[in-house]
Symmetry: C2
């Protein structure tokens, strides 16, 4: 039983929660709670370490056992230690460290999402969750988009990290990475309405930062603009909502599932 917040395991978890550099150097990220643990097991993502509190219910203990069988070191911790490890106000009963996933997009792909300079972690996580549900096969992060393994992103993404290939990319590499796909930029008040576009050809949807829109580098790509048809022309949408509306129109037109 770990009782001290000075324990090396606890310090490791806290460093991985707090710092992108620590995550990149160790090749690990943190998940919190039974929902994400279940997603990790279902996806066959092996945990390296699991910390849990002894008040964890039977279902949660079952997950700890499953993760142990898959090779994880497991350690009980006191509630104050769990609170110190957790990034949330209501600490979960378990926390796990997992290797950063190494997923590759299928080839060829027919639906990609490019997020350029997204800075809000909750928005990015919601976007990843939405992309997963909409059948996006590759997510590319350009500009100074927030780290996709930031704990707030991981929480909001609800398990998308275990299935969806997510990779940072330089804008100049996008034409090669997205060869053969039409590049559509979601923008207010320009281009056709999203309901008037034929979305059946393979395409990538580009979403710019909510505060500043897409970067100049992205604007120099051979893009087609598309806007979201709203009930009142003046209205704007949250970036995650805008992406969701277009992605689900693409899914509808393609007749999936």
């Amino acid at each position: 039983m770990i009782t001290s917040t000075q324990n090396p395991r606890v310090k490791q978890v806290r460093a991985l929660q707090a710092r992108r550099r620590a995550r990149e150097q160790e090749g690990l990220f943190v998940i919190e709670g039974v929902h994400l643990a279940r997603e990790a097991i279902a996806a066959g993502a092996p945990a390296q370490l699991v910390l849990y509190t002894e008040d964890l219910d039977a279902r949660g203990r079952g997950l700890v056992n499953s993760l142990a069988k898959l090779g994880a070191e497991t350690e009980a911790v006191t509630p104050p230690v769990m609170a110190a490890c957790s990034g949330t106000e209501t600490p979960p009963g378990l926390i796990a460290l997992l290797p950063l996933p190494n997923l590759f997009p299928p080839s060829p792909i027919d639906l990609a999402l490019v997020l350029d300079g997204l800075s809000d972690p909750g928005n990015l996580g919601t976007l990843l969750r939405t992309a997963m549900a909409a059948g996006v096969q590759s997510v590319l992060l350009t500009g100074d988009t927030v780290d996709p393994f930031n704990p707030k992103v991981v929480r909001a993404a609800a398990g998308a990290h275990f299935h969806l290939p997510i990779q940072p990319a330089a804008v100049e590499d996008l034409p090669a990475l997205l060869e053969g796909l039409d590049l559509w930029l979601a923008e207010a008040r320009t281009g056709p309405a999203h309901t008037r576009v034929d979305w059946r050809p393979p395409c990538a949807l580009i979403i710019g930062s909510e505060a500043h829109g897409p970067s100049d580098a992205v604007r120099r790509l051979p893009l087609r603009p598309v806007h979201i048809a709203t009930a009142r022309q003046t209205e704007s949408l949250n970036a995650a909502v805008a992406a969701a509306v277009v992605l689900f129109e693409i899914l509808r037109q393609r007749g999936l599932p």
Copy 2:
């Protein structure tokens, strides 16, 4: 120039930021920043009080002057006082107190949104912003949904409060409030896919709490379930995203704008 956080105006703003009861007793709420101030002026919503810092740019000062002409008391404050008044980590150049809007839905209505037990302020704000863009004419809040004038809700709603009638309601009053409208409950894996429903008849969309779904009281209403067609059947969506996907399918089918 207000230089003390003990100034009565400052105490008033802080109480209104912090407590629903203070907002309800005084009939006031707080907006932060030039974007919301511009929305308030455009909507003809009169401010009662405006606090601003002297480093506010010319555009911001123009807004302060416009609000003064519309009857607001205006006061310069020091940056530390603004920081004490603000609910954000990067305080804005201006904060205003406005009367709680008293907007009524048109009659008859053909698109309403019911939010049952939504507890996340950012989600509620995003939902209100989305509802506004999708042409929703009335938003009803049931159960223990978070206060729509909570500062985080106001920020995420991006001005929807000035145009969209938003009212708390008891579940048992919904049939009368929504008479003549089909009641559709968004749920995972039941009912038809959202793309297979004929959305042209007048309707209300009901979104339950993300953690617990809709309350038992809501479930006893004469509802039709609808699910969102996703690329993989197992995926769930954030509540704001789910509402957006259905609302924009309704808008698309109705051929607006």
